[in-house]
Amino acid sequence: MHYALHYGQVTPYLPYLLGGALVSLWISVLAFAGGLVIGLLGAFGRIYGGPLLSRLIYGYYIFFTNTPQLVQIFFLFYGLADFGLLLTPFEAVWLGLTLNAGAYLIEIQKAGFLSTRLSELEAAETLGMSRWQQLRFVIVPHIARVLYPPLSNQFIIVIMGSSMGAIFGLEELTGRAVNINGQTFRALEVFSLAGVIYLGVTMLATVGLALAGRLLLRIPLRIA
């Protein structure tokens, strides 16, 4: 039962771990961007597409939100090889994170778009706004304000999901922690350090996004 924590052996690796955090952040940004595009197209398809298209998109949403992200990435990583499509770990993890985030973002964005109230549009029309002005001053600001908080939440979820990259040999934060553990056998120190870095990254992202929302969209600050 005697184990002394020695962070000294792990601290030289701190820059390496922080570099891994950048990789985590980078793949999360790319996946979130991809997910936003899928979500946007999907939300429009759900609202304006016919019953068939809407059903198909709903099926995609239901399937991806009811199965584990890890198995989805496994399926892409090993399964697509059967079709002669060899994905690198980065590509497979990115695609998995994107498709998964995209599914959640469809319903989030759909709810956001449908939240525009008719009374707001009528008020805009009464003020003599053109179609473009309505879009610019009423619809887009309203939707942006409604969508912003759930979107920033989803981004944090993508960052946490990116840690699964370690399982596919991607050298992001968790992957690098696994590497260091293999060299130093200081598991508790390495993984607790990685945990603290994740904590820092997600906290910074939350606070940064909340501040950006306050400045750009005048969303009241409401952290925690």
Binding site: M1, Y3, I62, F63, N66, T67, P68, Q69, L70, V71, Q72, F74, F75, Y78, G79, A81, D82, I156, M160, G161, S162, S163, M164, A166, I167, T174, A177, V178, N181, A187, L188, F191, S192, A194, G195, Y198, L199, T202, M203
Partner: protein, 225 residues
């Protein structure tokens, strides 16, 4: 695709189906147990955070810190910490127990927040009224808060449970015989990834989708009553 059709009969042989069924059972047990223990512990944590005594302040701060951290550190990292923690202290534990402890920690953190928001849904006046009648915190919870809050807490926790089934897939990484682990082991035995992971995905879906629907039904049902 050719391999899928060719391997189909061999894949769904008796032992393999039994293997999959065991894995499915383990996935259900792992998620159910961690959420049940998590509900009990989450209730204790949420109640502790309601106390006002100075003596308990360090405990409250510790609990706030722990719940916040466990909700922001990826489940995989928590799992590795618990897994290597036990092995470093040379405590011999079955992978299932290690995964259960790690997942319970995570579930507790999330459920504590759900219970806390359930508590907060009770209007201020009722807390004040209970305090005026000289109710202790335990009495207030027992007679005023819980009889109303459970209608919000129970459906939210059951929806969390459905979400959490998917997080138990990570337990495959420390060798727990659950669905994802079995999917991986089929690949190692030469089966087509499309077939094995396709089957595993389908099983997760068949498990999660009806439960999600039931959770939504429960939520709507209890919200209207």
């Amino acid at each position: 695709m050719h391999a899928v059709i060719e391997q189909w009969p061999r894949f769904f042989s008796g032992p393999n189906v039994l293997f999959l069924a065991t894995a499915l059972l383990n996935t259900v047990l792992l998620s159910l147990a961690s959420c049940c223990i998590g509900l009990a512990l989450g209730f204790v944590i949420a109640s502790t955070r309601l106390t006002r005594s100075w003596a308990l302040l360090p405990l409250r701060l510790l609990l706030i810190g722990l719940t916040e951290a466990l909700r922001r550190i990826p489940p995989l990292v928590v799992l590795f910490l618990v897994f290597f923690g036990f092995s470093l202290f040379q405590i011999d534990m079955a992978p299932f127990a290690v995964a259960l402890i790690a997942l319970t920690l995570i579930a507790t953190a999330f459920i504590a927040e759900i219970v806390r928001s359930g508590f907060r849904s009770i209007p201020r006046e009722q807390w004040d009224a209970a305090a005026t009648m000289n109710f202790s915190l335990a009495q207030t919870l027992r007679h005023v808060v819980v009889p109303q809050a459970w209608k919000i807490v129970v459906p939210t926790v059951s929806l969390f449970f459905v979400m959490f089934i998917k997080d138990t897939a990570l337990a495959s990484q420390i060798g727990v015989l659950e669905l994802t682990f079995v999917g991986k082991s089929f690949i190692d035995r030469g089966f087509s990834p499309l077939l094995s992971f396709g089957t595993v995905l389908l099983l997760y879906f068949l498990l999660s989708f009806p439960l999600a629907r039931a959770g939504q039904w429960l939520e709507a049902r209890l919200a209207s009553s």
